[in-house]
């Protein structure tokens, strides 16, 4: 531009010189005549810019108009993209937060969890006994710090300003915060001298904020927890959570000094490796430490082993999340295939439009840009809706997965995931926009117009590409459907488990009795009084308590030895679960009495120690004996506690997966003096359980107005938590499978409908030559059958391969269950044929006369 204008100026100068001016005069005159050079340049640039923007605006306007003319296409594409992108956003956010993001502690890679394993079976994992922990802490040189938290911690009630709250309190050893390291602690943490059950407490940041108004002077003060005085020594860093149990309200020192029972494995142990030491070195260290312990403790049959902490925490959910990731990738794939297919079908149908535009002088670049603008608009709309959908899905995931996936509270939309979503969106738009654009950029208008008007069978190569995409869609959808079907079968089997006790119409709740106000005698009486009072509430049939609700997992397993009968003096191979019960526990949960009797008022602390055993225990400890004869036999639990069996009751399941186990029941009245046994209360009702809650609270308050009723839940909910992970996977995969199937059906419909439109003339000729409507229909359906058939074969192969990913989530169900395979395939085929039947019907209604002359 500079050059062009310079030439002009120079010519003016020459002209003036020719008419007799001196060079300098001529230059001045020329400049005056020429006017402001820069202004001209600027104006020239404006001209260019305006038209680029104008063209772009024109493209966008045109694109919006075009898209609005085909609302079904636009809607389907946007919805398809939104489903794919929304799924990806939500699932990747979860995967990122749970599996990929490091633990929220300093140098989390150095954190390990230490277990005990049986000498003969290195694959077993047990929590650690106190004496092993002490040795580990004093002798393992590869660890910088080692700390432990009590596997079972009961909470305490905090009553302040007339408002009671049950606190989740974790009992931990010294060095707990130092091992984890997450920001500075206000005050101090526990020292070794505190490990005597000293009444000290570290508050969580949230508790300090909510109940102590962020008052720093609370450190050093005494507060009352379940009526006992505790000195606040510190406040945990904001946001600090325990890696194993999650959110807790406070920490108190574990009484390591009194934990001397070598068979009592009670500690969850975490450790921090010394800087520069590897896990392999730590393993070697633990092996030599275990060898040394064997020399000193002749009966020791436990050895120590370390696992990376994060692996340990996410191992259980890894299977579910992997399956979920595969599922969402499949859905995204189906979605993208669908969009690609729709774009292809649409672009092919627009050959004429573009040919005409090219003939009228539109450049290839301009047409390509037009297509690009259209697809980017669609991708952006899909991306935005998808992102909103993703946030919504994440909310649902969080609600569904709270019990299923650890570290789920931390999950929020992540910038990395946002980046991934944006990239996927843009890539989708560019790829599918460019595919037809590249083709049309090289279009020969003459040929295209000619071909379009004369071709009666359509472009075969294009047709194969479209059909191939449909085959892949059908296959992906079937993989998801089969997986969803197998999960459903497995989940149904889980739901049909007979737990051996009453699950419906049972209310459960907890109380914590402050040991200051409840001495041994009062504690022994309280649950019986409570059960008696609750049973007077109208609608209640029975009430009782237990130290652990059935079907909620492993609790106290103690070595149990029969002292009489054929196996007298021999240990049971399986450690029996111990349960402490009160009130009418067995009646409440309808656990049948098979022989003898269950506990009643006779079994107090003045009576000889008695036990009720489960049928499973009776069979193991007294093989070959009738249950009637088992009554009156003697057993020993732990090292020295002898019991007389007074009854045999039916088996209940240990967990939601229906694991059987041998159980010994103890009367709370006899046990209350031994230790504080917090009991979970169970109430059987004739009315919906929530209706009696207010009356229950009133009865509790009547006995002791300072007690806090907490963790209220119906028994169905309690048991349901045990299958949360299965439910989580099932709901998601099921939803994904339905979406994928719908998308595949849409894809199939699109391709067939398009093909029918393209072949209208051919069909017309066929009908003119005598083909019946049925024949024409079968022509289209055959085309569908080939695609669906190939897709089904591919899908079954894929589902068989994907089965092994699923096995970690299955309960008594084969990942290759032929019935499920058959049923889901049938479902897909039916849906596919339904979506194919619409274009087939349209084909059979072609009017030959019109079709043949149609251009």
């Amino acid at each position: 531009m500079q050059r062009e204008l310079g030439i002009h100026l120079e010519q003016l100068v020459k002209q003036h010189m020719a008419s007799g001016m001196s060079e300098s005069e001529a230059r001045t005159a020329a400049r005056r005549e020429f006017g402001p050079l820069e202004a001209t340049k600027e104006e020239c640039r404006d001209m260019r810019r305006v038209s680029v923007i104008e063209n772009l605006a024109q493209d966008v306007r045109y694109a919006i108009r075009t898209l609005r003319r085909t609302p079904v296409f636009t809607g389907v594409v946007v919805a398809t993209l939104a489903l794919g992108i929304g799924g990806i956003t939500a699932v990747f956010t979860v995967v990122q937060a749970v599996l990929l993001a490091p633990l929220p502690y300093e140098e989390p890679g150095r954190l390990v969890r230490v277990y005990q394993h049986e000498r003969n079976d290195p694959s077993t994992r047990f929590v650690v006994s106190a004496r092993h922990f002490r040795e580990l802490r004093d002798h393992a040189g590869t660890f910088e710090q080692v700390a432990a938290l009590a596997t079972w911690s009961w909470g305490r009630d905090l009553v302040r300003g007339g408002q009671g709250q049950h606190l989740r309190i974790l009992r931990v050893t010294s060095d707990y915060f130092r091992t984890l390291r997450s920001g500075p602690l206000r005050g101090r943490e526990f020292e070794r001298d505190d490990e005597t059950g000293a009444e000290l407490v570290v508050l969580s940041d949230a508790l300090w904020r909510n109940r102590f108004h962020t008052d720093p002077s609370v450190i050093g003060q005494t507060i009352h927890l379940s009526a006992e005085p505790y000195i606040v020594v510190g406040i945990a860093p904001a946001g600090f959570e325990d890696p194993v149990v999650g959110e807790v309200d406070a920490w108190e020192p574990y009484d390591l000094a009194s934990d001397t029972d070598e068979t009592n494995n009670s500690l969850t142990v975490i450790g921090r490796l010394r800087n520069g030491f590897t896990l392999a070195q730590a393993h070697a260290d633990l092996v030599s430490l275990s060898d040394a312990l064997d020399d000193r403790w002749p009966n020791n049959d436990n050895r120590l082993v370390a696992e990376p902490l994060k692996e340990d925490l996410v191992a259980d959910s890894r299977g579910a999340l992997n399956v979920l990731t595969i599922a969402v990738v499949l859905v995204l794939m189906v979605a993208c295939l669908n969009v690609a297919n729709l774009f292809l079908v649409r672009a092919t149908g627009r050959v004429r439009e573009f040919a005409i535009r090219a003939a009228l002088g539109s450049g290839g670049v301009r047409i390509a840009r037009q297509l690009l603008v259209e697809s980017l608009l669609l991708a952006t709309a899909g991306g935005l809706v998808g992102f909103a959908l993703g946030i919504g899905t994440l909310r649902i995931l969080r609600a569904l997965g709270a019990d299923a996936i650890p570290r789920f509270g931390e999950v929020g939309i992540d910038p990395v995931v946002l980046g991934v979503t944006t990239a996927v969106t843009l890539a989708t738009g560019l790829v599918f926009g460019m595919m037809p654009a590249v083709r049309f950029a090289r279009i020969n208008p003459n040929q295209a117009l000619h071909q379009q008007s004369r071709s009666s069978t359509g472009d075969r190569r294009q047709g194969r590409l479209r059909s191939g995409l449909v085959v892949l869609q059908v296959a992906s959808a079937l993989v998801l459907l089969v997986n969803a079907g197998i999960l459903t079968a497995s989940f149904n089997r889980l739901r049909q488990i007979d737990f051996g006790f009453r699950v419906t119409s049972v209310l459960t709740f907890e109380l914590s009795l402050p040991s200051v106000r409840y001495n041994t005698a009062r504690r022994a009486i309280f649950p019986e009084e409570l059960a008696g009072r609750i049973e007077t509430i109208p609608g209640v049939t029975a009430a009782g308590g237990t130290s652990r609700l059935p079907a909620t997992g492993d609790f106290h397993s103690w070595r149990t030895t029969p002292l009489s009968g054929p196996r007298a003096g021999m240990d049971l191979r399986v450690e029996a679960q111990q349960r402490v019960v009160s009130g009418d526990f067995f009646t409440t949960l309808e656990i049948p009495v098979l022989a003898g009797r269950v506990f009643d008022a006779r079994d107090d602390d003045s009576a000889p120690m008695r036990a009720v055993v489960s049928a499973d225990l009776a069979r193991r400890a007294f093989p070959g004996m009738l249950f009637e004869d088992v009554v009156g036999q003697r057993i020993r639990v732990l090292a020295a506690q002898e019991r007389e069996i007074i009854g045999v009751v039916g088996d209940v399941k240990l967990d939601a997966h229906g694991t059987a186990f041998p159980a010994v029941y103890h009367a709370h009245r006899q046990f209350a003096g031994h230790q504080t046994w917090p009991l979970m209360q169970v109430v059987a009702t004739e009315v919906p359980p929530e209706q009696i809650l207010a009356a229950v609270r009133a009865e509790v308050a009547a006995l002791d107005p300072q007690l806090v009723v907490f963790r209220v839940a119906p028994m169905t909910g309690v048991v349901g938590r045990g299958v949360a992970r299965e439910r989580f996977a099932l709901v998601l995969i099921g939803a994904f499978a339905i979406v994928a199937m719908a998308l595949a059906a849409v894809g199939l419909y699109g391709v067939l409908a398009y093909s029918v439109r393209q072949r209208t003339q051919e069909i017309g000729i066929r009908m003119a030559l005598g083909a019946t409507a049925a024949r024409v229909r079968s022509l289209v359906l055959r085309q569908a059958a080939v695609m669906v058939g190939l897709g089904t074969l591919l899908g079954i192969a894929g589902a068989l391969m994907a089965g092994r990913w699923l096995s970690s989530l299955l309960y008594q169900t084969s990942p290759h269950d032929p019935r499920v395979l058959f049923a889901t395939t049938l479902l897909l085929v039916v849906v596919a044929l339904l979506s194919a039947s619409l274009p087939a019907r349209r084909a059979s209604r072609v009017e030959p006369r019109i079709a043949i002359y149609e251009e």
Binding site: M1, R3, E4, L5, I7, H8, E10, Q11, F34, G35, P36, A39, T40, E43, C44, D46, M47, R48, S51, V52, G361
Partner: protein
């Protein structure tokens, strides 16, 4: 009624298109030829000529290329495209209608 400025701008496009219809010309040449052919009645300043050339080029009516020129150095030559020829036809028709209308009005008013 078109505003005077619209008329002027439209006229300038017509003048440029018509001027380069016979042979490709550079900017200076276009300005000179308009001046000469109109018997010095019309004079197009560079301040309106070059922006107009760039705009018309963007519309695809003319294309430009650098070629050796009679000025003793290479210059940017503008020539009509197919689209430009059509546009010229349209502009000529419009002009005919407009000028005959104006003529009629002057004669009969």
């Amino acid at each position: 009624m078109p505003k005077p400025s619209d008329l002027l701008q439209g006229t300038l496009d017509l003048l440029i298109l018509k001027t380069i219809a016979r042979e490709p010309l550079h900017g200076w040449g276009i300005a000179k030829r308009i001046q000469v052919l109109s018997g010095d009645v019309l004079s197009v300043g560079q301040g309106s000529l070059y922006p107009a050339l760039h705009r018309i080029e963007q519309q695809g009516w003319i294309t430009a290329e650098w070629k050796d020129s009679d000025l003793g150095r290479s210059a940017k030559f503008y020539s009509l495209t197919r689209e430009g020829k059509k546009q010229l036809e349209r502009e000529l028709k419009t002009w005919d209608r407009l000028s005959s209308g104006v003529q009629l009005l002057i004669e009969n008013a």
